[in-house]
Every structure is written in C-alpha cells, then in structure tokens.
C-alpha cells in the first residue's frame, strides 16, 4: 500500500478522466457547431456533464444490493409510465413519447434502457442454477423484455425499442442460455424481416428503404445520410480544421449538434479525430466488460456487462447511422450529442457499473482494476 490514502486510490480516477476526455471533446465540437459560440449548446452540455458525473459518483457509493432489490419495482414504475404515455398519447392524438411533469419533460422509454438490463439480470440472478436450461429460464425474461419493447415500438420509436430488446437479449445471452436458441432465433428473425417490414409505419419503411439507397432521394428523406457522408468524407484524414467545417456551418448537415454530431466532428477533425473517439469509447467498453468479468456476484456481472452493452448500442447504432450503415433511427451519440436524457441514461449506466466495480474491489481488496 502506498502513502496515498485509501479513499483516493479507490476513487475511479482513470475512468473519470476518460469520460472527461470524451465529454470535453464533445463540448468542443458543440462549440464549433454553434459557429464558435459556447451558447446555446456547449455551456449547457458542460454543466450537464458535471451534474450527471456527480450523480454517477453518488450512485457508485450505493451498495449493490439496493440496485438488485429495487430492480423490479423500478421496472414496474417505468412500465406503468410507458402505459401512461400511451394513454395520454391516445387522448392527445399522434405520437407521444413523454410525460410533462411541469418542470421537465420525462421520457420513460429512455429509462427503460438501463432498467431492462438490471431487471433481466436480477431475474437470472434469482433463478436457481439448475433451471438455466429450462423453459422457466426463458419465458419470464421474454415477457419482461417484450412488454416495454412493444409499448415503445407503438409510440413509435424503432431505435429505442431495438435498444431495449438488444439490451435484454444480451443479458439473456450472458446468463448462459443454450447457444442454439440464439442461433435459431437469429435465423428465424432474418427470415421474418420481410413480414415485419410490412408492419412498419410508412415513414419508418421510408427510412429503411432510403438507408439502402440514400441517393434515391438526396433532397428528401435521404438528405440526412447523404449530407452526413459528405461531411465525413470531405474531412479526409486530418479534417478541415477546427471551426472550418462548411457542411455544418453552412447548415447543409441537418441535426449537426444532436444525432449527427459525429459528422460535424469528423468534418473538422478528420479520420484522426474519429478514430481517437472510437478508441476512447472502446476503452470505456473494455473497462465495463472487465468490471463484469472481475465481479463474482451473478447480478453484478450480468448488470455490468449488460449496461456496458447498452452504452455500446448507443455508440454503434449512432455511428452506423451517421456513416450510412444503418437507417436513420434517432439514437444520439453519448457525451457528444447535445441533449439531457441520453446523457442521463448513459451516466446512470456508468454510475451502476462504478458501483459494481467498487463492490467487487471491496470484496477482493485489490486496487488492480483497470
């Protein structure tokens, strides 16, 4: 043991530094997206990051058992609010995704992303070891995932619904269900895609079709993808330079500060900036997976890996969308895209993972974590 006091060595310095680096970079990009202004986005984003970091650190002090115990009640509450949103939407007419609490707009589907992971993890943690290869190990999890998935899908919010399903299924996979189930289902889903496609809303169908061929409608719905690729492609290796992006500054790139912030970044920082950013995210995921693998507690390791994967889905879906590999589904890039709810969700995930890390270090007593 060194002379540095224990609480200080225990404090997750490195991971905080990593997050600070990503969020700091994001703030710089938002500063540029506002044509060299800290308003309206950069300052707000920095303030939010500080608040949510404090929240994540607070979460990390909470004993793991609390999360485990509150997983099901929290799930029930969020599911109820999803119903509520649907009801209000039915009355108000049209697409409804949030509840107005008076002081803020609450978007329950956003919370469902981490909650579904905790809930499914909790379910498998409670499941006796021997039951894992039985039917009993499957249907409750499918119900747990299916209800919120269906509710979000009919909002309609394809992106969030996909993420909820993906987060839950990942936990099922990690819990040890037979591999052939996943392979079989994968094949089944692949063959069912044409049928599913016909159930999509027209605008969703359009997005998918245009994703397949963005040039077919370069001024209409394909405009986002086309302009995003132009921004990334014209950046080259070194980028056009800070504040020199033309796609973003001349308003050719739509949503340049939210969903397509990566394109704004790539135009000015080039492949170099993009690769470094992706590397930083990869380091974050490596940390999350390692925390999961180090943990001995079943709930903890499933939760840690599941939450890491949830953040991964944010990043992967957003980047694939921005680079023209996925349809435009409205998933923001964590820490980079301007917006409060996505950062709140991601910081919730980070906080819980930090709590798991802390708990497992307490148990093993080693400081060797990264």
């Amino acid at each position: 043991m060194s002379i540095i006091p224990h609480p200080l060595t225990e404090f997750p310095w490195r991971i905080l530094a990593l997050l600070l680096a990503i969020a700091g970079f994001g703030t710089i990009v938002l500063y540029s997206a506002a044509s060299g202004n800290i308003f309206p986005w950069a300052a707000m984003q920095a303030v939010r990051f500080c608040i949510f970091s404090a929240m994540a650190l607070t979460l990390s002090r909470i004993p793991l058992e609390i999360f485990a115990r509150f997983a099901f009640p929290a799930y029930g509450a969020v599911l109820a609010s999803l119903f509520l949103v649907e009801l209000i939407g039915g009355v108000a007419g049209g697409s409804q995704r949030w509840i107005n609490l008076g002081f803020m707009q609450l978007q329950p589907s956003e919370f469902m992303k981490p909650i579904i992971v905790l809930t499914v993890a909790r379910f498998y943690a409670m499941l006796p070891v021997g039951e894992i290869r039985r039917w009993n190990a499957i249907w409750p999890a499918l119900v747990l995932i299916g209800l919120p998935w269906a509710l979000v899908l009919i909002q309609p919010d394809l992106g969030t619904a996909t993420m909820i399903a993906a987060g839950g299924v990942t936990v099922m996979f990690l819990a040890g269900l037979p591999l052939r189930l996943f392979i079989g289902t994968g094949l089944l889903v692949a063959s069912a895609i044409p049928i599913a496609f016909s159930f999509l809303h027209d605008y969703q169908k359009n997005r998918v079709l245009i994703f397949l061929d963005p040039e077919s409608d370069p001024l209409g719905a394909g405009y986002h993808i086309s302009q995003s690729k132009i921004a990334i492609g014209s950046g080259g290796f070194w980028g056009k330079g800070f504040l020199q992006g033309t796609q973003s500054h001349l308003d050719y790139l739509p949503e340049g500060h939210t969903d397509f912030v990566f394109a704004t970044m790539a135009e000015e920082w080039g492949l170099l900036g993009g690769a470094l950013l992706i590397l930083a995210f990869m380091l974050l995921f490596r940390w999350g997976i390692r925390v999961a693998m180090r943990s001995q507690d079943k709930f903890a390791r499933l939760a840690a890996a599941g939450l890491t994967t949830t953040i991964f889905f944010y990043v992967a879906i957003n980047l694939m969308m921005v680079m023209g590999l996925a349809p435009v589904v409205g998933i923001p890039l964590p820490f980079m895209s301007y917006g409060g709810s996505s950062m709140l969700t991601v910081m919730l995930c980070i906080g819980v993972i930090m709590a798991i890390d802390r708990a497992s270090k307490r148990r093993t007593g080693t400081g060797n974590w990264a």
């Binding site: 070891v129 993009g274 995921f285 999961a292």
Partner: protein
C-alpha cells in the same frame, strides 16, 4: 417442464460462471470488432472516397452565378455605333437585410420619384419574397439617381444598387428592321442549346435581323461569380469573380448617317429605301419605315405598344425591304428595254402610241389616255409609255425578257444574314405552266413588261436591279464591311446598250420625263432613274368609262404603290437606290418616291444640305419619327382608355393614368379600326392585268 434436451447437462455455479466469462469475452470481442469495422468504414469514406465527397462538399458550398457577357457592338462602315451597350443602373432590395421595410420603401419612393402603383408592386413583391431573392425597385436609373442612392447606403440597409448593361440603338426606329432587337431567351431556345447562360437573368440574345444572324459572333464569354452560400441560399461571402469577355463587334457596310437619313426621309409613309454602292454591291442603307423602336423591344415591349404596332396599317412590324413584295410597275421598263436591245431592236425604232391597243379581245391602255404619239426607246422610257413596251415585248417574247429580268436580280434569292426574305417572281411560260397548269398568253407578256401581273419584286432586289443596270455587272448585295467576294459576273449587255439605257433613265429625271421630281439638287451630279406605279386594284371597264378614280378618293389599302429606282451620277454610276412607298399613290410630291430617293442620294454628296432640307420638311410632318411615334402612342393610349370606358374622353392627366391601366391589363378588346386585322400588303393578289 420438460425442455429442450432430453439428457440434461449438469450445471453448476462454476460452470455458469465459466460460461459467463466466455460469453462476456465474446461480447467484448464483438464490440471491438464492430469498433474496428466503424473505423474502417470511416477510413473508407474519408480517405478512399475523400475526393468524391470533397467535390460534393464544394458543390454544396459554392454557388456559381454567371455574369452575362457584354454584347459586341455593331458599327457602321465608318465605325459609328449602330448598336452598343448602355450602362444600366438599377436598385434592388434584399428582403432579409432590411431593418424597417416601410421606411426604406418610403425613402426610396421619394428619392426615385416612384409612382404609387410601383410602390404597391414593391410592397407586394417584398411580402411574397423568399428572403434572399432580390426584389427589383427600379431599373434604367439615371446616374444621378444611382449616385443619390449609393451615398445613402449606410442609412438604407437591404438596398442594393447595381449596374449592368442594356442594348442601345442610337438611331432608334430607323435601324429597327435592319438590326432586329435582343430579348431574353425563350424556353425553346434553352431546350435547343442547353446553355446555362440562356437562363441567366439579364442575358439577352438576338431575336431578329442582324442581331439574330450574328448572335454567336456578338455573344461573348460569360463571366462567373463564385459565392459561398448556406443550405438556405443565403450568400455568406464572395469567393472569386472572373470578368466577362465581351462579344466581338461587327462592322457593317451600312452608313449610319445615310440609314438614319433614309428612315427619317420616308416621312409619314409606309415605305422602304435601299441604297447600294455600285462599286461592289455594299448595302449602304436598308430602311423600312415606320418601324418599331428596337430599344423598347429590347427592354421588353409593353402590351399596349405592341398592340398599337400590330394594328397600324403602315405595318411597322414587317421588314418591307426584304419581306415586302410589290409589282415593280414601270420600274422594269429599262430592264425590258435592255432585253429589247439584246434581241436586236434598235434604240431608234419607233412605236406610235395612240393611248390603247387591243391584245386578244382586251383593250390595253397607256397611262396617258390621249397617247404619246411616235416614240423611240429613249422617249418611251422617259415618258414611261406602255404602248411602246406592249408592242416591242410581243415581238421578242417573254422568255428573253424573263432571262434579262433574272440577270438583273429579279426573283433572285440572295445570301443574306437575315432570317427571312421574300424573293418574288419572274414569270415566264414554263413558270406559268408549272404553277397554274395554264398556257402563257400574250396578255401575260403585256402585263409583265409593265411590271404588273405575276411579276413581284422586293425593294432590295429593285436596288440591285438599279445597280446592275447602272454597271452592267451582277453585283451581289452585301452587309459585312470588307467582305471577300468574287468579282461579279457581267449582266451580259454591251456597253453601248448600257449607255442607251443610262441615257434614257437620265431623260426620265432630267429630260422632261416622268421623274422630274427626282432632279438632283447637287451641282454636277445628275440622277438617272425610273418611276413606277403599281396598281393594287382592278379598274373595271365601267370605271374607266366614267373616269378612273383618283388615289386621294380611295381607301389607303386601295391606293397605288409608288416606286422609284435609279442611280447617280448618271454617267459614272456610284450609288444605286430603290424606293417603294406602299399605297403612296403619288399624292404628296415631297413624300413621293422620286423625291425621297433623290434627297437620300443627295445626302451622300452633301450631308449638311440634305439634313437642312430634311429638318425643314420634318417640321411639316410633326417632328422626327420618334416624336411622331410618341404622339401616336399617347393618342392610342387615350383611345384605348376611352374604348374601355375607364375614363371620360377629355382631360390629359386622367387619360394618362388610364393608359397605365390599359398597359397593365392586356386583356384583348375589340380592335378600334376594322381594317387593322388585314395588314398583309396585298400586292400580287389584287393585281390583274389591265393598267
């Protein structure tokens, strides 16, 4: 609860933990793989396809606007401009930059003296405007107005004064048909050429006359302005500007002074004058009056002005020099005489004119009822005796006359830089057989020898005929200064024969003949020529019995055409001229063809004296063509307004407003004059064989 596998693996906590570790590594590995895939994809877009996307980004960012090139000048043989470019000052509003629209408009209205309806138009345009597209406030400003706005720019945000170029024709209407005019390209033009320049605001191309024929030559290379624009079209800054390359100029054989003189000298008549240089066939003047003013056509003519022009029975919209066809009348007699000489008829052989002869069962009259008595060739041409030619022509037959007619340029289509020309007819037996499937009759020959019947000519051909009779060479009309051309072929007449003709034509003017009005006022310059009268109606036996009606008692459309062709000086021809006055009827001596031709030729020898005479005459006609046309326009405007019932007849300023109203609403209303629809000059059709 039987499930999946019959032989169940025994699962322990440790095994499950192991499975988790293994699967977590798979998940982590997949994440890493996708991360690598994303970096690879990004590298592909940004490095491998960088060039393509950089180009797309540039074409997003940079907006190229073409600057219309200045059009090449058209200058006369002495370098005087016939068509040039005038600096055009204009003011626009950029809606998005305006702070207080109402105050700005009020300020501008006061500075530029804008009419109230113009101000309303600007307000309306401003409301409809998309924000970045400029709204025109006014164009054709004077430099003082332009300067007045320019110095106040700091107080007038959103006001954008600018200067461009517009086509200007200093001689106005007198060059209208010669040069044509310019105008914005039509959709068909653009479809045919697909040149983006055609749809650039402010670009104009030649629409008629020489402007159209030499359009490519006169059109320069467009300049370009590169500006950086946002996705919404807002201009951020100008990047580079490449200036335009003005078009090449064209030097014509036209003498600007003569052209304008001829146009003005045509007075109030509907007529044309063509002057040709006898040395080489250069066309010195090609005037057709009245004419549209190419300046107002090039700026976009008002509905009202166009309506007035198209209803005028003096057909200002037709280029009479090339598209007007007239029976040449007696002006063909020198040509027929040349054919007679060629056929071996001696110049001294005489015919006794008794006032009429019978051909077949028709009685053909001479224009002189009592007859001329015995006449030789010189006398017959000088007195324009019809009987002499009736008899002589019957002796040699139509084919020999037609052959000579063709050699002096009748019926010939010339290679001219004009979109259209009508080239008339030289009838002969073969032609009649072909055209009407009828046999040539003796009375056809008789009609043709006095330039009636089927024979038709345009004023340019008549000038060519005069030049060829004067020189004996088949001169070709030409418009391009110093154009290379082969030496002209000969007409095929001997010099002795030509001297006989020239002498006879001199006698027409200076020897007591029919063309005394063409006598030259220039000492030492004698004009030779031949007068002509072309009937456009049939004179019935009954009318002839009761006395042929005078032209002044006839409707305009029924009056005779008055013609004159000639050259000067008669003994050494330098210039040839043709003048045709449509339905002139020889009613006013100083507006008749011989004197117009004579005065026009005198301009070539003594311009100052000729101008002096013209200015005196113009006082009697009510001013220059421009002044007369302006007055005509004003009265037409008032007539329209009264007709529409917008205003009570009197009071000048009220009528003026009503004129504006009429100009704004182009709704067709019944024509005021009933004959205005039928504006085609009827030459050939109405003419029949009995002069």
């Amino acid at each position: 609860m039987k499930f999946l596998t019959p032989k169940r693996k025994i699962i322990t906590e440790a095994a499950q933990s192991f499975t988790f570790t293994r699967r977590a590594m798979v998940v982590g590995g997949l994440q890493g793989a996708i991360g690598a895939l994303l970096v690879g994809r990004m590298a592909w877009i940004s490095v491998a396809e960088n060039e393509k996307y950089s180009l797309l980004s540039e074409s997003n960012r940079v907006n190229l606007t073409l600057i219309p090139p200045r059009r090449g000048w058209i200058v006369d043989r002495n370098g005087r401009p016939l068509a040039n470019n005038r600096t055009d000052f204009r003011v626009d509003l950029i809606p998005q930059r305006i702070v207080d629209a109402e105050a700005t408009i009020r300020h501008l209205a006061q500075l530029l003296d804008l009419e109230p309806d113009e101000v309303d138009r600007i307000r309306e345009d401003l409301e409809k405007s998309a924000g970045f597209r400029p709204v025109q406030v006014a164009d054709k400003l004077t430099y003082d107005q332009y300067a007045a706005i320019s110095v106040r720019l700091p107080d007038l945000p959103g006001v954008a004064p600018s200067q461009g170029f517009s086509r200007h024709y200093p001689a106005g209407a007198t060059v209208g048909h010669l040069l044509g005019y310019v105008g914005a390209a039509t959709a068909e033009d653009y479809k045919a050429r697909k040149d983006p320049l055609l749809i650039t605001p402010g670009f104009k191309l030649g629409k008629d006359g020489l402007e159209k024929a030499f359009d490519r030559h006169l059109t320069g290379k467009a300049g370009a302005k590169r500006v950086e624009v946002t996705a919404r079209g807002k201009i951020v800054r100008e990047l580079t500007t490449r200036p335009d390359t003005p078009g090449k100029s064209i030097k014509l054989t036209i003498d600007a002074g003569l052209q304008e003189y001829a146009g003005r000298r045509l007075a109030t008549q509907s007529g044309s004058v063509v002057v040709i240089d006898c040395q080489n066939g250069d066309v010195l003047a090609l005037a057709s009056m009245p004419s549209f003013d190419p300046n107002s056509f090039s700026d976009g003519i008002s509905h009202l002005e166009y309506e007035m022009l198209s209803k005028d029975d003096h057909v200002p919209l037709r280029n009479k020099t090339l598209q007007g066809l007239y029976p040449p009348g007696s002006t063909v007699k020198p040509m027929v005489a040349l054919a007679l000489l060629e056929a071996g008829i001696g110049p001294q052989e005489t015919v006794s004119c008794g006032g009429a002869i019978r051909v077949g069962n028709t009685l053909f009259h001479c224009h002189k009822r009592r007859g001329h008595g015995p006449l030789n060739m010189r006398g017959a041409i000088a007195q324009s005796c019809d009987i002499y030619f009736y008899q002589m022509a019957q002796r040699i037959g139509m084919d020999r006359i037609a052959s000579m007619a063709r050699r002096v340029g009748m019926g010939q289509k010339f290679d001219l830089p004009f979109p259209s020309q009508s080239y008339g007819t030289v009838p002969d037996p073969a032609w009649k057989e072909r055209k009407y499937d009828q046999k040539w009759q003796v009375y056809d020959t008789v009609n043709a020898t006095i330039g009636q019947g089927y024979m038709l000519i345009n004023p340019l051909q008549m000038a060519v005929m005069a030049a060829r009779l004067a020189t004996g060479k088949q001169l070709m009309p030409n418009f391009i200064h110093n154009a290379r051309r082969p030496d002209p072929a000969t007409v095929g007449a001997t010099e002795e024969h030509l001297i006989v003709i020239r002498d006879a034509m001199n006698a027409v003017v200076n020897g007591g003949g029919t063309g005394g009005a063409a006598r030259s006022s220039i000492p030492g310059v004698m004009i030779a020529g031949k007068t002509g009268t072309a009937q456009v109606r049939r004179i019935t036996m009954a009318e002839r019995a009761g006395g042929v009606r005078g032209n002044s008692s006839l409707a305009f459309k029924l009056r005779d055409h008055a013609l004159f062709q000639g050259f000067a000086p008669f003994d050494n021809p330098r210039y040839a001229i043709a003048c045709i006055i449509e339905h002139g009827g020889h009613m006013i001596r100083n507006e008749d063809a011989p004197m117009i031709a004579s005065d026009t030729l005198s301009y070539l020898f003594d311009p100052a004296k000729a101008m002096e005479k013209l200015e005196t005459l113009e006082k009697g006609w009510g001013g220059t063509p421009a002044q007369r046309q302006a007055r005509q326009m004003a009265s037409f405007r008032i007539a329209k307004a009264i007709e529409k019932g917008d205003v009570p007849p009197p009071s000048d300023n009220v009528a003026d407003n009503a004129g504006n109203a009429a100009a704004l609403s182009p709704a067709p209303s019944p024509p005021a004059r009933d004959e205005s629809e039928d504006d085609a000059p009827p030459p050939g059709a109405n003419v029949t064989g009995a002069p």
